[in-house]
Amino acid sequence: MDFLRPASWEEALAAKAEHPTAVPIAGGTDVMVEINFDHRRPEYLLDLNRVGDLYEWEVGQDSVRLGASVPYSRIMESLRAELPGLALASHTVASPQIRNRGGVGGNLGTASPAGDAHPALLAAGAEVEAESVRGSRRIPIDAFYTGVKRNALAPDELIRAVHVKKADGPQQYSKVGTRNAMVIAVCAFGLALHPETRTVRTGIGSAAPTPVRARTAEEFLEAALEEDGFWDNGKIITPSVAKQFADLCAAACNPIDDVRGTARYRRHAVGVMARRTLTWTWESYRGARRASKGAA
């Protein structure tokens, strides 16, 4: 094994171009487990800890450019207002020790269907900034996950950052597990309301071969909210709408039975989380509406 230690992003790209089989390591919270257990013996480890740019983020007009290695603990502390869904998801990652090391770049690189960040990224809307010596491109998050632990990266590409849309409405994240800390999701659900465009977006984790959106459920909910003027009148969502939304989210799953839960349980739990997160976000939207009306 060789340990490659680029001191800059340009050096990292050059190393990845020269050794496309090199395994990038940042927080090490996935890669080191595989090495410790002898599940993986990469020919090259490409250490990204010295590439300082990856630990920075910029808050722009419409989105946040989040460096691939910004640890979850920083996201929780510093980006709660801009990226509430991702901040909530970050708080459910493993333990403080892991959150101090791991970041979204690793979650995307590993592309496990159980990665905690994915449902939040899908719901908020995001693009992955991938780069190689050949150039840089932005991959829409919907096109990024291509299979179980597979993503759209070319062998010579590295993840530089992820551009996440700033929240323009309430966002929620929910995760089912056996305890609060140190738990891989049995399944997870992210929901974001986007009042500016009058759209809603979802993200489902651990209930299909890849993280997925429940598009039919989104379209149903958008139509239902539009039809009855909910965005304007701020009424309580009718239980039948919430139930239909939950059922469509459950139907968007394609889960398996495994040690963490059965397919049937996962489908049921996703429906429950969809209904709950819809209630939470909608109540928060109504609250914000009332507050702004009161101010005016």
Binding site: M1, G28, S95, P96, Q97, N100
Partner: protein, 201 residues
């Protein structure tokens, strides 16, 4: 490969390090510091918790090569680390910046560190960090395997939260598993250390 880094305030050099080796392995097997415990090797249990540039991490998940040039504090250096922090705080309070103490703990001192005695007198005679003393006084140690990781994590929490709520303590220690105590005595120990820290100010 060779790795140069700072351990408990002193520069150290580890040789013949395998590229896939963890920081935990380097500490235990190459530097002779077995205080950080090797248990799950997958970041689940927190027994190997150390401070990396001040931040608590699982040393089993840090590749040895990643610590080149960086600063690590292990449980063996915790007493000295806490002493210096207290001194620094005092200096800052008195707005004086003169630090005279030679920094850090040498490898020999760290290797020789022990909480002396094996009965209820444990800890007497050895220099202890306040959190270590609180663990002894509260009876928070049973088999002791999880203790080093808990000490490092709890000490770091008290650095940032002088008056932690029970929720703060549980959150800070949520990455450290203990299979003996049921955590109640550990909670007592951290509350005790926090209270003593408050009295000292």
């Amino acid at each position: 490969m060779r790795v140069n880094f700072t351990v408990n305030g002193r520069p150290q050099e580890a040789d013949d390090v395998w590229e896939g080796e963890s920081l935990l392995y380097v500490l235990r097997e190459r530097l002779g510091l077995p205080g950080s415990k090797n248990a799950c090797e997958q970041g689940e249990c927190g027994s190997c918790t150390v401070r990396l540039d001040g931040v608590p991490v699982c040393s089993c998940l840090v590749a040895a090569g990643q610590v080149e040039g960086r600063d690590v504090v292990t449980v063996e250096g915790l007493a000295e680390f806490a002493r210096q922090r207290a001194e620094r705080d005092r200096c800052e309070t008195a707005s004086r910046g003169d630090r005279t103490a030679a920094p850090g703990t040498s490898l020999d001192e760290a290797r020789a560190w022990q909480a002396r005695g094996s009965d209820s007198q444990a800890g007497e005679g050895g220099e202890l960090a306040p959190i270590q003393q609180a663990f002894i006084d509260a009876g928070a140690v049973q088999c002791g395997f999880c203790t080093p990781g808990l000490l490092v994590a709890a000490d770091e929490m008290l650095e940032h939260h002088p008056n932690p709520t029970d929720a703060d303590i549980r959150e800070a220690l949520s990455g450290n598993l203990c299979r003996c105590t049921g955590y109640e005595k550990i909670m007592d120990a951290v509350r005790l250390a926090a209270a003593r820290q408050g009295e000292a100010v």
